[in-house]
Amino acid sequence: MPTLAIVTDHYHYAITIFLMMAGLYIVVARGNMVKKLVGLSIFQTSVYLLYVEPGKIIGGTAPIIDPSFTVYSNPLPHVLMLTAIVVGMATLALGLALVVRINEAYGTIEEDEIFERDRET
C-alpha cells in the first residue's frame, strides 16, 4: 500500500521530471537548431510545473481573504512563473531570431552542416 501512496502522492513530480529529462535530451541529441529550441522550451516548461503544482493546496481556494475560507492556495508560484514564462519566451524569441540569421549566413540550420561549412572556409 505505501508504494501506491507514494505513486499517487508524487506522480506529478514524475511528470515534471519526465518533461525535464525529455527536454534536456532533445537539446543534447538533436542537431537541428529549431528542434534544440523546442527541447529547451520543454525543459523550461517543466520548471513551471515544478513551481506551480505545490502551490495548489487541496481544498484551498483563491487567495482572496474572506471569513468563510481558511485554506488558500499559494499565489506566489504563479506570479513567479509568470515572470519565468516571460523570460522563457524572450529566450525562445531570441533563439529563433538567431536561427533565422544563421540560416541566412550559412544556408542551413543543421549543426553538423554548419561546422562543415566553417571548416571549408
Binding site: M20, L24, V27, M33, K36, L40, F43, Q44, V47, L50, Y51, P54, P77, L80, T83, A84, V87, A90, T91, L94, G95, L98, V99, R101, I102, A105, Y106, I114, D118
Partner: protein, 497 residues
C-alpha cells in the same frame, strides 16, 4: 542628496535600465554612446558610495515598495556585494571610452545604438544580481544580463559569432534553468525566496530533508557553474569570446563570469554554508578538483591556440579555476585569494582583450602569425599587454602574484602541499602561452602587412593603460583588493556553521 542617499541600491539597477531604454530610442550611435558613457561613469560613484556606507555602518537593506522581507523583494548590499558592484561598474566605466571607435569599426552602423542598449541592459542585469537579496529576482537579472549578452555576442561581424551566440544561448539557458530548479527546491523546502530567510529556515531541524537540500545545492552549483564557465562546463566560452566584438569580450571577461562567481559564493557561504555544513559534502572537493583541472587543461589548450582572442579565452577558463579553487579551499586565506583574483583577473583580462581589440582595430586580425613584430609598431599597446601578461603569470609586483600568494597560503593552511605545487605549476604553463605571444610580438621582424599600424587613438589607449597600471598598482598596494576581500571573507566565514 539626502533624498537620493537611501535609494542607492535601487538606483544601481534603475539608472542603467532607463539608460538602456533611452539608448534604444535614440537609434543613432553617437547619442546612444553618450548615454552609455554617462551611465557607466555614474555607476562607480553609486557603488563607491554604497561600499563606503557598508564599510562604515554595516550591510544596507532596501525594501522594494516598502514591503519588508521575506514578503517583499529585499535588495541587500554587504561588503562582498559592494566590492563586486564597485568592480563591475568601475570596469564598465574604465573601458567605456574604448567602445566608441572599436564598436564603430566592428559593428554595423545601424546596430550600434542597439549595441549600447544591450550593453546597458547587461549592466542592469549584472548589477542587479549582485544587489538583490532575493533568489528568484537574481534569476530574472541573470537572464536579463544573459539575453543581452547573447545579442552582444551575435553582433560580431564574423558569421561564426551567430553560432557562438546560439551555443551560448543554449548553454546559458540550461544553466539558468538548473539554477531556477535549485531555487524551486529551496522554495518548496522553506517557502521563502529571500536568501537570508532561506538560510535561517534551513536550520538543523531540516536535517531530515538533507537529500532535497543536497539536490538543490547540486542544481544551483551546476547551473551557476555553467554561467561562470567552470571546467568542464566552459564549452560555450572560447567561441563566444573569440567571435564577439572585441569590446564585448573585454567587458564580459571582466564582469559576466565574475558576477556568476559571486552568485556561487553567495549560495555557498551565505545560504548553504549557514544552513548545513556543506564542507562535509564532497562539494568543495569536487570544486577543487575541477578548478585544478581547469588550471591545467585550459592552460595547455591555450598554449596551442593560433588566435589571440581564443588563447586569452582559454586562459580565462584557467584563471577562473584559480578563483573557484579559492572558493573550494573555503578558508580565510584561500577564499580571500579567490575574491582578490576576481578583481585582479578582471582588470588584467580586460586589459588583454582591449589590447586584442586595439590590434584588431589597426590591422583587422588577431591571428598570432599576423602579429609578428607588432610590438614595435604599437609599442604602448603592447607594453600594456605585456604588463597584463606578467600579471597572468603572477610575477611579483603584479596583482596576479597577490592572488597566488593568498591561494598558496590557503592551501598550506590545510597542509596540502600538492595543490601548492599545482598552483605554481599551472602558472608556468601560463608563462608558456604568454611567452609564445610575447616572443612573436616583440622579437620577430614586422611584416609588410602591418607596416602602417600604430598605437590606437587616446580614447582606446587610455583605458588599456589604466588597466595595465592597475595590474601593477594592485600588486603593490592591496588595501582595496585584499583588504576589503579579507573583510568580506571574514563576514562570510563568520556566518558558517
Amino acid at each position: 542628496m539626502n533624498a537620493v542617499w537611501p535609494h542607492l541600491p535601487i538606483l544601481q539597477v534603475v539608472v542603467p535600465l532607463i539608460g538602456a531604454v533611452l539608448a534604444g530610442f535614440l537609434r543613432r550611435a553617437g547619442p546612444a554612446f553618450a548615454v552609455a558613457l554617462a551611465v557607466s561613469w555614474l555607476m562607480p560613484l553609486i557603488a563607491g558610495a554604497m561600499l563606503w556606507q557598508v564599510l562604515a555602518s554595516g550591510p544596507i537593506s532596501y525594501h522594494i515598495g516598502s514591503w519588508p522581507p521575506p514578503w517583499g523583494i529585499e535588495y541587500r548590499v554587504d561588503v562582498l556585494g559592494g566590492f563586486m558592484l564597485l568592480l563591475v561598474s568601475t570596469v564598465g566605466a574604465v573601458i567605456m571610452p574604448f567602445a566608441r571607435r572599436s564598436v564603430a569599426f566592428e559593428v554595423e552602423d545601424g546596430q550600434q545604438a542597439w549595441f549600447y542598449c544591450m550593453y546597458l541592459l547587461c549592466l542592469t542585469g549584472l548589477l542587479g544580481i549582485v544587489t538583490t537579496g532575493d533568489a528568484f529576482n537574481a534569476f530574472v537579472f541573470l537572464e536579463v544580463s544573459s539575453l543581452s549578452t547573447y545579442v552582444l555576442v551575435a553582433l560580431g561581424r564574423d558569421r561564426r559569432a551567430l553560432l557562438a551566440a546560439f551555443q551560448y544561448l543554449i548553454m546559458g539557458t540550461i544553466g539558468a534553468t538548473f539554477y531556477i530548479i535549485g531555487v524551486g527546491l529551496l522554495y518548496l523546502l522553506t517557502g521563502s525566496l529571500n536568501m537570508a530567510d532561506i538560510a535561517a529556515r534551513l536550520g538543523p531541524e531540516w536535517a531530515g530533508h538533507s537529500r532535497a537540500i543536497v539536490a538543490a545545492l547540486a542544481f544551483i552549483t551546476v547551473g551557476v557553474s555553467l554561467k561562470l564557465a567552470l571546467f568542464p562546463l566552459h564549452a560555450w566560452l572560447p567561441n563566444a569570446y573569440a567571435y564577439a566584438p572585441s569590446w564585448v569580450t573585454a567587458f564580459l571577461s571582466a564582469t559576466a563570469t565574475k558576477v556568476a562567481i559571486y552568485l556561487l559564493v553567495r549560495f555557498f557561504f551565505s545560504i548553504f554554508g549557514v544552513a548545513i555544513d556543506f564542507r562535509e559534502l564532497p562539494v568543495t572537493d569536487i570544486v577543487i578538483a575541477l578548478s585544478i583541472a581547469a588550471m591545467f587543461v585550459a592552460s595547455v589548450i591555450a598554449v596551442f591556440q593560433t588566435d589571440l582572442k581564443r588563447m586569452l579565452a582559454y586562459s580565462s577558463v584557467a584563471q577562473i579555476g584559480y578563483i573557484t579553487l579559492g572558493i573550494g579551499l573555503a578558508n580565510q586565506a584561500g577564499l580571500t585569494g579567490g575574491l582578490v583574483h576576481i578583481v585582479n583577473h578582471a582588470l588584467m583580462k580586460a586589459a588583454l582583450f582591449l589590447a586584442a581589440g586595439a590590434i584588431f582595430f589597426r590591422i583587422g586580425t588577431v591571428r598570432l602569425s599576423d602579429l609578428a613584430g607588432i610590438g614595435r609598431k604599437m609599442p604602448l599597446t603592447m607594453t600594456a599587454f605585456t604588463v597584463a601578461c606578467f600579471g597572468l603569470v603572477g610575477t611579483p609586483g603584479t596583482s596576479g602574484f597577490i592572488s597566488k600568494w593568498f591561494l598558496v597560503l590557503g592551501a598550506l593552511d590545510k597542509g596540502w602541499w600538492v595543490p601548492v605545487f599545482l598552483i605554481v605549476g599551472s602558472s608556468l604553463i601560463a608563462l608558456v602561452y604568454v611567452g609564445r605571444v610575447l616572443e612573436v610580438v616583440w622579437l620577430r621582424e614586422p611584416s609588410a602587412a602591418i607596416a602602417n599600424a600604430s598605437d590606437p587613438p587616446l580614447s582606446m589607449l587610455l583605458p588599456l593603460v589604466v588597466l595595465a597600471a592597475a595590474t601593477i598598482y594592485f600588486g603593490l598596494d592591496t588595501q582595496w583588493t585584499a583588504g576589503i576581500a579579507g573583510t568580506a571573507v571574514k563576514n562570510l566565514l563568520g556566518g558558517l556553521r
